[in-house]
Every structure is written in C-alpha cells, then in structure tokens.
C-alpha cells in the first residue's frame, strides 16, 4: 500500500511539474491541480506509523490510546483545509486565465502567440 501511494504521489508530482512548465495557461492550471492532489496525498501519508488502514481517529472505550490503534486525526484536518484553499485558488486562477485569454486572444502564458513551433501543444 505504501509503495502504491508513494508511486501515485510521485507520478502526480512529476506530471504536475511538467505541465506547470508548459507554455499554455490550460496546461499550467492542470499542472497546478495535479500538484495540489499530490500534496494532499502527501500530507495524508505524514500521519506516521504506516497508513493506519481501517482505523478511525474516534476514541473507543477500552482501546489503548496510541497511534497503533488510531489514525492520526491532524493530517486529516490539514488535508481538509488544504483542499478547500487549493480549490478556491484554482478557481481564481481559472478566472484570471479566462480574462487573459479574452484580453490577449491567445492562451499563451505570456499573452503572445508562440514564436516557436515546438511550443505548440
């Protein structure tokens, strides 16, 4: 499970960074979204002591109160906050992207038509 998660985070981050460095605004926003998914998964995985599969962070009577028996609730709270903030910022970025597209008539991040054929998507 750890390996799968690590691979997923790695693939998401790699794709996100690559897309973020592309010259089209749409690719940049997809890259930023993928990167934020990767970061959210990463925060989740920081709950130490394995991935606490099938465990809840709710106290149960008679169970020893340590991280062997419970999931760490803090990363879950952090992830929630990060998701909300990331979602809002992506929405804002989308608005600015559309505004620039309307003003410059191209979806290049610099607002100019790509000079180089290699920059074409």
């Amino acid at each position: 499970m750890e390996a799968v998660l690590a691979l997923a985070i790695g693939v998401l981050t790699g794709s996100g960074v690559w897309l973020m460095l592309r010259p089209r605004t749409f690719q940049v926003i997809l890259g930023l979204s993928l990167l934020s998914y990767a970061v959210n998964l990463f925060i989740f995985s920081m709950g130490r002591l394995g991935l606490a599969e099938g465990k809840t962070p709710v106290l149960i009577d008679g169970v020893v109160q340590d991280l062997q028996h419970y999931a760490d609730p803090l990363p879950q709270a952090l992830v929630l906050t990060a998701i909300v903030i990331g979602f809002a910022m992506t929405a804002l970025f989308l608005v600015v992207l559309l505004a620039l597209r309307g003003m410059s008539g191209t979806d290049h991040v610099d607002g100019t038509h790509a000079q180089d054929a290699r920059e074409q998507p």
């Binding site: 970061v39 925060i43 920081m46 990363p75 809002a88 992506t90 600015v96 991040v109």
Partner: protein, 569 residues
C-alpha cells in the same frame, strides 16, 4: 507611554486578537455594502486602518515595557494548552512588523483615497483582508495557521494586484498567482514533513523537538526545512526565484505596489522567526543549518537587485528592484546570524520598506505628470530626453551654456515637493547620510566589523562572507544611487515641457508621512536601536519564547452553579 500601558495591561492578552479581528470585521461589514457607497467605505477603511495602527503601537509599547513580567503575549485560541491548540504569540519582532505594516497601509490607503480606489470593485474589502492576513502571519505561532494566514494574505493580494484591470495587470497577475500556488504547495510539503518527523506544528514545540530528532531522520528534517524555506524565499524574492516580482509590483496600482513593499518582508520575517527558533544553538547537530545558503542567496539577490535598478527605465520597475535589493541585503545579513547584525537589520528593514513604499507612490505621481494625466505609457518608445537618435544634442535645449535661461524661474511648489521627496527616497534607498538608510547600513557595518560590540571585539574578523557582504553593500549602494540619480535627472532636470504637476494634498500627504517616518527613525535612532537590540537578543535566546508559550495556562472552565446538573466540562 505609561497611560498607554495602563490601557493595555488589563486588556492583554485579548488585545492581541484585535489586529486580526478588526480588519476581518471591517471587511465583513464592507462586503455587505453596495459598491456605490465608496465614500462611506473609504471612511470606514481609513478609520479601521488608523485604529489598527494605534492598536499596533499600544502592543509595541506593551512588549517593550520594563518590568518583572516577561513581555511576550501568548493567546490560546480555543483555550487549549500550548502544543495542542493554535497559539498566537506577540513579541517585540511581531509588534515591530505590525506597526510597520500599519504605517504603510495607512499611507497607501490615503493615497488610494485620492483616485485609485475607484478603479475597480471591492478595493477596500480586499485591502482589509490583506491587512488581516499580514497581522495573522506576524502573530501566529503555529506552522499550519501560518499557512492559512499566508493564503488569506495572498488571496487578497491577487485581488488587489488585479485592481484596475488592464492587460498588463492580468498578465502579471497570472504569473504571480501561478508562482504563489506553486510556493504554497512547497509550504504544505515542508510543513507536513516537519509534522511527520517531529509530530508537532507548534513553533515552540518544534524548536524543542529539533534536538531530539534521531540521526537517521536528520537528513529528512533538513530536507523539510529546506523545502519550507524555499516557499518563504519565493515570498522574500530571492534570486533566482524573484523574476515574478518586478512585473507584478510594477504593473500593480500605485497604492497596491506600496502596500506590497511589506509582502517581501513577510518572507524575511518568517525566515527570521523560524530559523532562529528551530536552528539556534540549542538545535544540536542542526544548529545554524542553512546559514551559508541564506547568505549566498542574499548576496546574489543584492547583485540582481542593484543591476536591475541600473537597467530599469520605468520608475515602478526601479522601485521593484529596490525592494529586491533591500530584501537581498536583509537575507544576507540574516544568514550570518550575529545578534548585533540582526539588531541592525531590524533597523534597516522598516526604513527601506517605507522608502520603497514611498517610491511606488511617487512613481505614480511622476508618471502622471510626465504623461499629462495618463497613467500607463511606453518608456521604450521614448528616446533619450535631450538627445536625437544620433545621440547629438537637440537644437534649442538647455544645456550648460544657456543655463541662464533657467535662472530666476520659480519652481512650482508641487514640482519642488516631488523633487525633494524623490531625493529623500534616493538617500534612504542608497543608504546615504543623513537619513535612516545610512544609519541602518552604518549599524550593519559596525556589527560586521565588531561582532561582539565596540570594546570587546578586537582581533575578530568578519570572515569571507562578511567581507563580501560589506563590499556588496557599498557597491550596491553606489549602483542604487547612480540609478536613482539618473532617473531623477531625467524626470526633474531634463524635462522640456515645464507644466506644473497636478498634486492633490491627499496624494502628497502619504508620501510626506512615509518620508517623515524615515526622518523620525533617524532622529530617534537610539531608542529604535535599543528596541531592535532587545529584539535581536530575544531572538537569539528562544528559550524565553518557548517557556512563555508552554507556561500559558488555559482559563479554567467555570464551575457549574448546581454541581449535580448535567453539563460538559
């Protein structure tokens, strides 16, 4: 002073919440108002900002009181004991930054009140949210809470940067948002890694647990700290992560640019706070981690800023590069980690921030004067002001031999004001006597050459990094002086049309206030230096800070009136 203290004492620690709560409340109220009620919004905004500045001054006096109680205010949000709940901490450094942002905000807002606040919607609301984010970032003592306040500050800054719209702003805004979203991802990665290693997000608790990190985890810890620092370094506009700054700040509306002058300093503040807390001498094997990186990055940023100033045609770009230069100087000095040097740095920080803010405001006025009212213009299309394209002097231009034409002509008061204000900005930014930029730089020189104080540091050497910083500070000061002088000659001496600039009192006043604050810093250099020295000493003894955070006791729950009745504790 004492009257202020008497006022503050019974209200502490709850007064600490006011710099965050007041802008939030004002912004919420203004959000409900219709866009047509600009005047009422402006009045409310001014009132709230002025009140916020007054509150920040009260808090500053409170942190600097002499007395038995330790002057660190701790506020337990949600009434949880320290490492479990989110804590707000007020010490001298936070109070200094709060006052600085208050002064800058008030001046930027006065300036915006003349015309800029009508250029788009929700200016006042966003302005207040920006102040809330800034105050929160300066006050919080929790890493994740810091992230949240950073995002509040950034979200408001995206809106403010786009204020007035136009292609240049939207394009610069797009780059600014993209780079800040990437930086926020780095922030989250760094913060969650630190949580994974140490199991805490409370800064004081984090500082405690650094020394106990096991040897195999130490590399991971350093990685986490470096990733987190990269996020702050992007905010602090360190080279090579600062190419977004100049276009973004340069295309922002003038009051927004002036307010943004403090945004780079937020990065410097968080680095100063976290670095001294986490990697102080108590950190064991990790002590002084990253010090050389900070210094080298700061030195490179200084060179970039100074060369950028020399290459700038637009005044706003000049101001943006001046912000980069000041931020680089601060980072390089910060990385050397000497107490005296940090005291001098904390004196230099407010004066350079105020001067850069004033330069952004001045640039707007000068550009408008130059273009007869239009705000945006092309510098690139223009030839050298008194030369033809073949670089020979134009006919009929006032060069040296016919200077007497100018003798006896009255300079309009507005032009004289702009010229003098520009001169003062030049003096502060280049670090020339007699204004506060010189005092700050001189204090840094003294600290570099006599790290242990004047009497007791015979035989100590600044070391290669120290010498390099000394040399670069002199060289970049000279370059900044050249760039600003050249710009001043171009805009004030070599003008062919001599129409008097239109200057409104509301636009002149904030510039005068900002530069007046620099003059005050110069006149009261000794008390200010005493304050910053106390701040630096406190930063280098983080044990006091940590103890204050952990000693803050939650308020006991009130006893239920009838012990038998049901009630949760």
């Amino acid at each position: 002073m004492n009257a202020l203290l008497d006022l503050a004492r019974p209200l502490m620690p709850h007064l600490m919440l006011a710099p965050i709560g007041l802008p939030m409340l004002t912004a919420a109220v203004m959000l409900l108002m219709r866009e047509e009620r600009q005047r009422l919004k402006l009045a409310l905004n001014l009132l709230s900002t002025a009140l916020g500045l007054a509150l920040a001054c009260v808090l500053l006096v409170w942190t600097h009181q002499d007395g038995a109680t330790h002057p660190i205010g701790v506020y337990l949000q949600g009434n949880w004991q320290a490492p479990f709940g989110i804590v707000l901490v007020l010490d001298r450094l936070s109070a200094l930054m709060l006052v600085l942002s208050g002064v800058l905000a008030l001046c930027a807002l006065l300036f915006a009140g003349a015309r800029w606040h009508r250029a788009g919607v929700h200016f006042h609301t966003l302005f207040q949210f920006q102040l809330m984010g800034l105050a929160g970032a300066f006050l919080t003592a929790d890493l994740f809470n810091l992230f949240v306040f950073f995002e509040i500050m950034l979200a408001a800054s995206y809106g403010l940067l786009l204020h007035g719209s136009g292609r240049a702003r939207v394009q610069a805004g797009l780059h600014y948002i993209a780079i800040n979203l990437a930086a926020s991802s780095l922030f989250l990665i760094g913060a969650s890694m630190l949580y994974g290693i140490t199991g805490t997000l409370n800064m004081a608790d984090l500082a405690n647990s650094i020394a106990q990190v096991s040897a195999p985890d130490r590399g991971l810890l350093h990685t986490a700290a470096a990733i987190l620092a990269t996020a702050f370094l992007i905010k602090a506009a360190v080279w090579p992560l600062n190419f977004w700054l100049v276009p973004a700040y340069g295309s922002a509306a003038a009051p927004v640019g002036a307010l943004f002058a403090i945004m780079t300093k937020v990065g410097v503040y968080t680095l100063l706070r976290l670095w001294t807390l986490m990697f102080g001498p108590e950190a064991g094997a990790s002590a002084q981690f990253g010090s050389l990186w900070l210094t080298c990055a700061g030195l490179a940023t200084m060179v970039f800023g100074a060369v950028g100033m020399m290459g700038s045609q637009r005044l706003t770009h000049l101001a943006g590069h001046a912000a980069v230069l000041s931020s680089g100087t601060l980072l390089a000095a910060l990385g050397l980690g000497q107490t005296q040097l940090i005291a001098a740095l904390l004196y230099y920080l407010p004066s350079s921030t105020l001067a850069v803010g004033a330069l952004f405001l001045l640039a707007d006025l000068i550009d408008r004067w130059r273009n007869h009212g239009a705000t945006l213009m092309n510098y690139e299309d223009e030839e050298a002001p008194f030369l033809t394209p073949e670089l020979v002097p134009r006919a009929g231009i006032n060069l040296d031999e016919d200077e007497e034409v100018l003798v006896g002509r009255v300079i309009p008061a507005a032009a004289a004001f702009l010229g003098l204000a520009f001169l003062a900005c030049t003096l502060v930014i280049a670090g020339m006597p007699p204004l506060s930029g010189f005092v700050g730089k001189f204090a840094m020189f003294t600290a570099l050459l006599n790290p242990l104080g004047l009497a007791s540091s015979a035989g100590t050497q600044p070391g290669p990094a120290g010498w390099l910083l000394l040399g670069l500070m002199l060289a970049t000061g000279l370059l900044a002086l050249l760039a600003l002088t050249r710009s001043g000659i171009r805009h004030f001496w070599a003008r062919q049309d001599s129409s008097a600039p239109q200057l409104r009192v509301l636009e002149g006043l904030p510039i005068a206030l900002l530069l007046g604050a620099c003059v005050l810093l110069t006149v009261y250099a000794q008390p200010v230096m005493r304050y910053t020295t106390a701040t630096a000493n406190a930063l280098h003894a983080p044990a006091t800070y940590i103890r204050a955070v952990f000693e803050a006791a939650p308020i006991a729950a009130p006893q239920p009136a009838h012990p038998g009745s049901a009630g949760t504790p």
